[in-house]
C-alpha cells in the first residue's frame, strides 16, 4: 500500500503479486495490475523467486520494489531481478550480501572504525563442536546471545546466562534459523545489560552520496520484535546524534551502499553505542522519520533507482521537527499471550484529525490471513513535542474501532500510560520484563461504569433487534448473532 501510494503520486503504474490468501488484500485491489504467484505458504509464493520474476516479465514492468519482508533482503532475488533486465528498487546484490551476513557486516563496521558489540567474528557452521563453541563463549564472556547469521527479527536467537545452557541454546537457534532462513549457521555475541535499540535511516544515491537521518528509538520490543518506535530518541543528545549518524554513514559508504537502508545500534547505559546490524531495505517504522523530516522515503527510493541525485539538505535531515510515534497494531490477543487472532474484520473505523497518519493495509470485510505477520495497521502520531505526541496517540487509540478480531490496541493504551514509557526510561527488554511481571493480567480492566454500560448495551441491542426477527433467518450461529443478521436486512444496505 505505502508503495502503491507513492507510485500513484508519481503517476507510476503499479503491479501487485499475491498468494492465494492475499487475493482480497488492499494492495491487490488498488494496484493497476495483479498476478497470482501461488499458494499461501510463503515458500511457494512470496519466497519463490522464479514466480516473482515471471510475474514481472508478464506485466512488462520496468522495476521491482521488494517491500519490507520476505525477499527484501535476499541478494539472489536482487540479482535475479537485475539479470531479468529489470531495476531492483533497493541496494545492489553485493551490498545486500555483505550487510545481510551479520558477521561480514560486523567486519565491515569495524573496518569503518565503528565499534561493534563484543563477540565472535566467525560464523559457527553446523560442524563446529560444542567444546569449541564453549571455548569461544568463555572468551567473549556471559551473558551472551546466540544469533542466526542470516535473517533477523529475533528468529534464531537465544539468550544464554549460564554456560550449562549454551549447547541447548545453540541447537535451538540452529534449528530455528534453519527453518526460518534455510541457513543454520549461528554466531555468539556479548549481551549488553539494559541497552537501547537506536537506529539510523540512510539514503544513498548511485553517485556516491550517502545521507543519514535523525535517529529512531526502537527499544520497545516484545520477543525482539519492535512494537513502538519514536523519532527522535529522548535519550540521544545532539552530540551523540552527530556521532551516531556519522558512524552509520561511514559504514554505508564503506560498502558502497545505495538506496534506502538502516543501521541499527545498541546504546548502553553509559552512552556508548555499538554497531548491531544493517537492514538493507525500507523498514516498517520509516514513517516516523518522514513525519519529523518531511521527506518521502519511498518516493526517494524510486528516484534513486532512476538514477536521480540526492539533492536534500543534509542539515535538515538531522534537525527533526516535532516528535513522531508509531504503534504497530497487530491482529493478536494481548490478553491471551498475544496469540494471533486471525479472522474477518467486520468493522473498521480508523482515527483521523490533526497529526494522525494511518498506514493501513486492512479494510472492513477483509480476512486477516494467518500465514504472515498479522500487522493490520501502522498508526503514527506527530505533535510538537513528545508529551503531546503521546497524548495524541492516546486519543487516536481511543478512536480506533476494529471488530471481528482481537487487536493489540488495548495493549498500546496500557503501555502509553506506563510511567516508565512516559519518562522515556526503557530498554530493549523493558517490555518483556513488564509483561512477565504482569503474568497475563488483562490490559483492560473495565471500570464498574463500563461494565454497567456494557450490560445495558447488550440488553438494548437484543431488545431492539428482537422486533426485526423473521422466521426466514438462517439457523446457524448463536441466536444473538442471528438477530443482528435480521437487523442487517433492515439497516445494512440502505
Amino acid at each position: 500500500m505505502r508503495i502503491i501510494r507513492a507510485c500513484r503520486e508519481m503517476a507510476v503504474s503499479t503491479v501487485a503479486v499475491y498468494s492465494e490468501c492475499d487475493r482480497a488484500a488492499l494492495h491487490v485491489r488498488l494496484a493497476d495490475e495483479a498476478y497470482a504467484i501461488g499458494p499461501s505458504a510463503p515458500r511457494e509464493s512470496y519466497l519463490n523467486i522464479d514466480r516473482l520474476i515471471d510475474a514481472a516479465r508478464r506485466s512488462g514492468a520496468d522495476a521491482v520494489h521488494p517491500g519490507y519482508g520476505f525477499l527484501a533482503e535476499n541478494e539472489d532475488f536482487a540479482a535475479a531481478v537485475r539479470d531479468a533486465g529489470l531495476t531492483f528498487i533497493g541496494p545492489t546484490p553485493e551490498a545486500i550480501e555483505t550487510m545481510g551476513s551479520k558477521t561480514a557486516a560486523r567486519t565491515a563496521a569495524r573496518r569503518a572504525g565503528v565499534p561493534v558489540v563484543p563477540g565472535a567474528e566467525t560464523a559457527l557452521s553446523a560442524d563446529v563442536s560444542d567444546q569449541e563453541i564453549a571455548a569461544i563463549a568463555t572468551s567473549i564472556g556471559y551473558p551472551l546471545l546466540v544469533k542466526a547469521v542470516a535473517g533477523g527479527g529475533g528468529k534464531g536467537m537465544r539468550a544464554v546466562a549460564d554456560p550449562s545452557d549454551l549447547a541447548a541454546a545453540v541447537r535451538a537457534a540452529r534449528s530455528e534459523a534453519g527453518t526460518a532462513f534455510g541457513d543454520a549457521s549461528v554466531y555468539l555475541e556479548r549481551r549488553l545489560t539494559r541497552p537501547r535499540h537506536i537506529e539510523v535511516q540512510l539514503l544513498g544515491d548511485l553517485h556516491g552520496t550517502v545521507l543519514p537521518f535523525v535517529e529512531r528509538e526502537c527499544s520497545i520490543q516484545r520477543r525482539h520484535q519492535k512494537v513502538v518506535e519514536e523519532s527522535p530518541s529522548a535519550q540521544v543528545t545532539p552530540a551523540l546524534r552527530i556521532a551516531m549518524t556519522a558512524a552509520a554513514a561511514a559504514v554505508a559508504r564503506s560498502v558502497g551502499y545505495t538506496n534506502a537502508g538502516t543501521i541499527e545500534f545498541l546504546l548502553d547505559e553509559d552512552g556508548q553505542f555499538y554497531f548491531l546490524e544493517m537492514n538493507t531495505r525500507l523498514q516498517v517504522e520509516h514513517p516516523i522519520t518522514e513525519m519529523v523530516t518531511g521527506v518521502d522515503l519511498v518516493r526517494w527510493q524510486i528516484r534513486i533507482a532512476r538514477g536521480e541525485r540526492l539533492d536534500l539538505d543534509p542539515a535538515r535531515l538531522l534537525a527533526p521537527v516535532g516528535h513522531a510515534i508509531e504503534c504497530r497494531i497487530y491482529a493478536e490477543d494481548p490478553d491471551n499471550g498475544f496469540l494471533p487472532s486471525p479472522g474477518r474484520i467486520t468493522q473498521l473505523r480508523v482515527p483521523g484529525g490533526p497529526g494522525i497518519r494511518d498506514d493501513s493495509g486492512a479494510s472492513a470485510g477483509l480476512d486477516v490471513p494467518i500465514f504472515y505477520d498479522p500487522m493490520i495497521s501502522k498508526l503514527i502520531a506527530w505533535a510538537e513535542d513528545r508529551p503531546l505526541a503521546i497524548a495524541r496517540m492516546r486519543r487516536a487509540l481511543s478512536e480506533y474501532l476494529v471488530t471481528g478480531i482481537k487487536t493489540t490496541l488495548p495493549f498500546f493504551s496500557w503501555l502509553l500510560d506506563q510511567p516508565a514509557f512516559i519518562d522515556g526510561r526503557f530498554h530493549t527488554t523493558y517490555l518483556d520484563d513488564e509483561l512477565k511481571a504482569r503474568n497475563g493480567r488483562p490490559f483492560v480492566e473495565p471500570s464498574a461504569e463500563a461494565d454497567e454500560v456494557a450490560a445495558i448495551g447488550a440488553a438494548l441491542q437484543a431488545a431492539m433487534s428482537a422486533g426485526s426477527m423473521t422466521s426466514g433467518a438462517s439457523s446457524a450461529g448463536p441466536l444473538v448473532a442471528r438477530r443482528w443478521r435480521a437487523q442487517a436486512r433492515l439497516d445494512g444496505l440502505r
Partner: protein
C-alpha cells in the same frame, strides 16, 4: 423485556421497556436502579447511548457501544475503546451456554485460535488447572504460542496430541 447479563463475573438483571415519547427512548432498570436511556442505532453492530441518571445535577453521559460475537460465539461489547466480555442469558437463552461459559468464570473449552501444529501438551485428564495456566503449546507462523486455561477447574478432555496439525477452532482441551 428482561435479560440476565453476565459481565465482569457478576450476573446483572436488566429490564428494558420502550419509553413513551422519544423514538429511541427506553426505561432501563439494572439491579433495581432505573435509568432513562436514549439509544440510536448507528449500524447493525453499533449503538449510541445517552444515559440520563434522571436526577437533578446528574449529567447525561454519552457512550458508543459496539457488539461483536467472535467465531466461538463469545460476545464482546466495546464501550468506547474498552472491550468488555459479556454473556447474555435472556428469557430466550441467549448464546450457547457450553461455549459462552454459562454461569462459570470463563470459557470451558480451549480451542486452537489458528491453524498450526501442537508442539507440547501440558495438561492431562484429571489435572486441576487455574485460569491462565498454559495447557497446550501450538506452533504457528514459526512462533510457539501458549494456549492457556480460560478458568479454574479440572481437565476432563484432552484432544491435543504432540505433532498433531490442528485447524482454527479445533477443540483441544475441556475444563470442568
Amino acid at each position: 423485556m428482561q435479560y440476565e447479563v453476565e459481565v465482569g463475573g457478576k450476573l446483572r438483571q436488566v429490564t428494558v421497556a420502550r419509553a413513551t415519547g422519544a423514538a429511541g427512548g427506553f426505561a432501563v432498570s439494572i439491579d433495581g436502579r432505573t435509568l432513562h436511556v436514549d439509544a440510536a442505532r448507528i449500524d447493525t453492530q453499533t449503538l449510541s447511548l445517552l444515559i440520563d441518571g434522571a436526577a437533578p445535577r446528574v449529567p447525561v453521559r454519552s457512550y458508543e457501544v459496539t457488539l461483536a460475537s467472535d467465531a466461538a460465539g463469545a460476545l464482546t461489547v466495546r464501550v468506547g475503546a474498552t472491550p468488555v466480555a459479556v454473556t447474555l442469558n435472556g428469557r430466550r437463552r441467549w448464546g450457547r451456554k457450553d461455549e459462552a461459559g454459562g454461569g462459570g468464570s470463563g470459557p470451558r473449552r480451549v480451542m486452537a485460535p489458528m491453524p498450526g501444529k501442537v508442539v507440547r501438551v501440558l495438561a492431562r485428564p484429571g489435572d486441576t488447572v487455574t485460569a491462565r495456566q498454559p495447557v497446550v503449546v501450538v506452533e504457528a507462523m514459526k512462533m510457539e504460542n501458549e494456549l492457556r486455561a480460560g478458568r479454574d477447574g479440572v481437565v476432563t478432555e484432552v484432544h491435543a496430541r504432540e505433532g498433531l496439525s490442528v485447524e482454527a477452532g479445533a477443540l483441544l482441551v475441556v475444563i470442568q
